[in-house]
Amino acid sequence: MSKRTVTVTVNGDHYQREVEPRLLLVDFLREAVGLTGTHVGCDTSNCGACTVLMEGRSIKSCTYLAVAANGKEIMTIEGVAQNGDLHPIQQAFWENHGLQCGYCTPGMILSAVYLLSKNPHPTESEIRRSLTGNICRCTGYQGIVDAIQQVSGDSQ
């Protein structure tokens, strides 16, 4: 099958690559662009470790074709910190024990960034429901919820 040329903007930089249509976005990011912060977890659209923002919306990059991302803007975990300073969500994960092994963390952070972009002051219930698509096997989620609450300024 013929390869296609795609241009994808990742964290503000443009990447033009030749890809097979069946290449998944997560593999494009990791293998073709070389940004390995986006993790492959379950590879079946359940765990959310591969979550990135596309055009500002959270998606699972294991369930999206790289060829379909042509012309689109992606943010990965590498683009969350600015000028070497941790994003407030990253800082809060650190301070609240929002991670242990760290495997789910890139996806968790991007889901949290997305939630707060839509709803700056979510309730605890809204936070927990927003994380339905992200599985963490270490923390029991409490530290993650605490971290998001710290940033949203709602510690109820």
Binding site: M1, S2, R4, E20, P21, R22, L23, L24, D43, T44, S45, N46, G48, T51, R57, S58, I59, K60, T63, Y64, L65, V67, A68, N70, S111, Y114, L115, R129, S130, T132, G133, N134
Partner: protein, 297 residues
């Protein structure tokens, strides 16, 4: 996991899509949100030779009120419905449904028409649209047509759509004054498919009698179905607890669940009865003007 190799097309007109479908027929698959198709392709349960992405089509997305109906464009993503004030205020059943479709990331990509066309017996949109008496508009090489959800759904993963036929929109009648609805889904864990689900849309008359009712059941048969016997028991009646129990038993009996990892046949029948009673209660309270939060079972 990789899908089998395929040729990818991303036409920018509906005519272009139909042309490709006419050419490649059964070897082609339409890619809308991809949240069912791509997992199936990765598992090699589907291996289309040609994938036709609808992403570049204009004008097939969005939610608008048109006369007595709400029109939902075929490419409208679940997340857009979730955020729609129009849906929230006029189609509470649909809003409840979208809230329990998979998870945030899937709702950001998945489309309503894609869910209907995929015809997964565990899908949430088919029972919701069935309860709302939605009409589905399609176009193919032979022209346009409109069909009901019951006409669309043939069997598990099988619809009555022709190889070259594309859903363009879904029209949902706006329920009259005094109406209320909800969709209850029982899942083993957040984001899972339903063990069983029940959608109830009803209209109360001035005396509080159940003037009109539609009950749809999901995940308890090869397709979503209407619980017609239960509906007949309730329609036109002042609904007592005993009558509601009778209707719940009727719905339990008329569904056709299968044994799988989510539960036994008896368990699912029992669930249908419980969910129907709870859903009726919420729908009736909403019909009476009470504000009832989106329920999570």
């Amino acid at each position: 996991m990789y899908p089998q190799a395929f040729e990818y097309f991303c036409p920018d007109t509906l005519e272009g899509v139909i042309e490709l479908l006419t050419q490649y027929g059964d070897d082609a698959k339409i890619l809308a949100g991809g949240q069912s198709l791509i997992p199936l392709m990765k598992l090699r349960l589907a291996s289309p030779k040609y994938v036709i992405d609808l992403d570049k089509l204009q004008g097939l997305s969005g939610i608008s009120e048109q006369g007595s109906e709400i029109l939902i464009g075929a490419l409208t993503r679940h997340a857009e419905i979730e955020d729609s004030e129009l849906v929230q205020s006029k189609l509470s059943l649909l809003h409840d449904t979208i809230n329990v479709v998979a998870d945030v990331q899937v709702r950001n990509l998945g489309t309503v028409a894609g869910s209907l066309a995929h015809a997964d017996p565990g899908g949430d949109l088919a029972p919701a649209m069935l309860a709302l008496n939605a009409q589905i508009d399609t176009v193919s090489s032979t022209g346009k047509r409109t069909l009901g959800v019951g006409e669309l759904l043939v069997d598990a993963y099988v619809t009555s759509l022709e190889d070259d036929e594309v859903i363009t929109g879904i029209r949902v009648p706006i329920p009259p004054e005094g109406s209320g609805g909800t969709y209850l889904k029982f899942e083993r864990r957040a984001g899972d498919y339903a063990v069983a689900s029940v959608g109830v849309q009803l209209t109360l008359d001035k005396k509080g009698c159940c003037a009109e009712i539609a009950i749809a059941l999901g995940s308890v048969g090869v397709t979503a179905i209407r619980a017609e016997k239960a509906e007949a028991l309730l329609r036109g009646q002042s609904v007592s607890d005993d009558l509601l129990k009778e209707a719940a038993s009727a719905a339990s009996a008329e569904c056709d669940p299968f044994l799988d990892i989510r539960g036994s046949v008896d368990y699912k029948r029992h669930l249908v009865g419980v969910l129907l009673r709870r859903a009726f209660d919420i729908a009736a309270r909403r019909a009476g003007g009470e504000k009832v939060e989106t329920p999570h079972v």
